[in-house]
């Protein structure tokens, strides 16, 4: 008897048995369905988080180095960072000078203030004081109107470029360009609206709900924390390839500006997208691992359920096994019959689990973040389902296969 023929017939027999015991099959499948849904949704959510993260920081170019007082990702307590000297606007100018035109230097500073247009008020909006170079270092462009110009910055013009979210909230259908809004107590003229950035990572910046003003007006209108400017300096490298050497060049020049001795540590931090991604990946790696372990346990419990039912199924059909053996079924045929039964139940469960997970994913997609089930996850889910079926079905199937035909025939 060839294996494939054996397999085909065993599969049919198994299908018949499942159809004959629909409610039991469904209950058995339930454990696996829950397990598969949990595992897939975890993986999908993790992917969604990653996508959101990427989208949020898409404007943080990979070829941009940031010089700031504090590191973006702070390990331990921050005393040593808090006591550092602030980074002044002058330092930014000096850096620009020393880099001799290589790289684009843009200082910026952020604070919160309320916005008002006619009767509409938005509280706690991020106000970013920056220069005309902002759109070079951040890859964001205005959708309508224009961005800040060197002229605006040099002459402290009270003009602002607003995020698309702000434009929608304050102006709805009307064209914001040329309108005056109040930033705190000061009137600013809207000269441009940024294009929509979309997607905001939990707790991360929402670039659509910001406004940009000339950094030279920031001190007077928003005010510095503690009275002194502490800016972030973004420096775009001449090319992405030159990024690593350029980073050291920036560090070297900053140390000279700060007058540090060779033995002294840097009193500023270098930030870039890579550090952010690294720390994000290591954090998410742990979260996803924990998630998979927990959801994996539910899948394991589902597998134990399948094993349990298969033991019942084998015991219940002891006589049938005896009959089959009497008319010529070998141990392998019986083994395959029950293995097919358990793995078919689990495969169906996997498919149903996938469908439910797809529905959940669409809900997540609508409400939380961009998420989707990749073909890879589909394949993994189906393979895992069948494997759970085979593994949990094996012991019961083996027990059935090695039954003595005489005893099995006598069983009532």
């Amino acid at each position: 008897m060839t294996f494939f023929m054996d397999a085909g017939e065993s599969f049919k027999i198994a299908l018949g048995a499942i159809v004959a015991n629909k409610s039991r099959g469904a209950l058995t499948a339930l454990g696996i369905i829950i397990g598969i849904v949990a595992v897939i949704t975890t993986m999908t959510a993790a992917n969604g988080l990653k996508n959101t993260f990427r989208e949020t920081f898409a404007s943080v170019g990979a070829d941009v180095v940031y010089v700031s007082k504090r590191p973006w990702v702070q390990m331990g307590r921050g005393f040593q960072f808090r006591n550092r000297k602030d980074i002044s606007l002058a330092a930014s100018d000096k850096l620009q000078e020393r880099l001799l035109g290589r790289g684009v230097v843009n200082p910026s500073i952020s604070g919160n203030q309320s916005l008002k247009y006619r009767s509409k008020v938005l509280d706690g909006i991020t106000i970013t004081g920056t220069t005309d170079k902002q759109i070079i270092v951040s890859d964001m462009v205005p959708e309508s109107g224009r961005f800040l110009t060197p002229f605006d910055v040099a002459y402290k013009k009270t003009v602002t470029v607003i995020g698309s979210g702000i434009a929608e909230s304050l102006f709805e259908q009307t064209n914001p360009i040329g309108k005056e809004i109040k930033v705190g107590r000061y009137k600013f003229t809207v000269i441009g609206v940024m294009e929509e950035q979309g997607g905001s990572f939990f707790g991360g910046p929402d670039f659509d709900r910001q406004i940009y003003i000339p950094i030279t007006t920031f001190g007077k209108t928003i005010g510095f924390n503690g009275g002194r400017a502490n800016v972030n300096i973004a420096i775009k490298a001449p090319s992405a390839e030159a990024m690593s050497t350029f980073e050291y060049e920036v560090i070297g020049e900053m140390r000279k500006i700060r007058g540090l001795k060779p033995t002294e540590d840097d009193d500023f931090s270098i930030n870039k997208l890579d550090t952010l991604l690294d720390s994000y990946n290591s954090m998410m790696g742990v979260v996803v691992l924990v998630g998979l372990v927990i959801t994996g346990i539910s899948l394991f419990v589902g597998g134990v359920g399948v094993m349990n039912i298969m033991f019942v199924s084998v015991t219940e059909r002891t006589k049938e096994i005896g009959i089959r053996k009497a008319i010529g079924a070998k141990r392998r045929s019986i083994l395959l019959q029950f293995l097919f039964e358990s793995s078919t139940i689990c495969l169906f469960a996997g498919i149903i689990g996938l469908i439910i997970a797809q529905i959940l994913t669409e809900i997540i997609n609508k409400l939380l973040m961009p998420a989707s089930i990749s073909p890879f996850i589909i394949v993994v889910a189906l393979v895992v389902s069948v494997m759970v079926g085979v593994l949990s079905g094996f012991v019961p199937a083996y027990r059935g296969a090695k039954l003595n035909p005489i005893d099995a025939l006598r069983y009532e």
């Binding site: 060839t2 009497a326 008319i327 010529g328 035909p405």
Partner: protein, 237 residues
């Protein structure tokens, strides 16, 4: 492993099975039960034999042995030139599939599946291709007079019809012997007669039939009666 690989032991012309000085001992707890204590039987091709004996006589053990469901503790059992005594479990399954047609007292049909599927089952285990199976099964269904019941489930049939299905199932692999264990035991007398008539007809067509029974009027259908008592042969016709 296929049965072709097994050691062949030539039997005399016309002999289909030979049992030589066979014993079967079971261990039940601390006790040894000697179910067969040295039995020798020879059955010829085309014979119609009844095996009789009271309960505890070793009748069932002998039937299990002849049906290749069990192997002797000592002694030789040769079925169509093949030494059954030394076979592995899977080889026994193969031998049962090809050479034995079982008819049981309790019919022993596979539940939940149709008459057709029940009769087809031995052919599936034998590895007969689907297109060949159909013809064989249909012929067997006709032979036992169940033509219009092929699509019925076994639990929708009467006892007599179930036994007909069992007989059809026993026939499809063209076995060397048909081994019937109390085939009328669960049937009323008129249905029993029909089934025995069917068995007689099979004998006339040349089948070798071994009938295990404790009823004399059933045993009378056979040409020869083998009687067992206390694990020994009392008479062998």
């Amino acid at each position: 492993m296929s049965s072709d690989d097994l050691a062949t032991v030539p039997l005399a012309d016309g002999v289909i099975l030979s049992i030589e000085n066979v014993t079967r001992t079971y261990v039940m707890g601390d006790e040894e039960v000697h179910a067969l204590k040295g039995v020798s039987i020879t059955i010829n091709k085309g014979e119609y034999v009844a095996i009789m004996g009271p309960s505890g006589s070793g009748k069932s053990t002998l039937m299990n042995m002849i049906g290749c469901l069990d192997v002797p503790s000592t002694g030789e059992y040769i079925l169509e030139n093949q030494a059954v005594s030394a076979m592995s479990e899977d080889q026994l399954a193969e031998i049962r599939n090809e050479k034995i047609g079982f008819v049981f007292q309790t019919f022993n049909l596979v539940p939940r599946v149709t008459v057709y599927q029940n009769i087809e089952l031995p052919l599936i285990y034998k590895g007969v291709a689907k297109r060949h199976r159909r013809k064989i099964v249909e012929k067997a269904i006709e032979a036992v007079g169940l033509g219009e019941r092929a699509k019925h489930k076994s639990n929708e049939l009467s006892g007599g019809q179930r036994q007909r299905v069992a007989i059809a199932r026993a026939l499809v692999c063209e076995p060397a012997i048909i081994l019937a264990d109390e085939p009328t035991g669960n049937l009323d007398s008129s249905t029993g007669k029909e089934i025995m008539a069917l068995m007689d007809g099979l004998h006339k067509k040349g089948h070798t039939i071994i009938l295990v029974t404790h009823e004399d009027d059933i045993a009378e259908h056979a040409n020869r009666t083998i009687r067992l008592r206390d694990g020994l042969l009392e008479s062998s016709g």
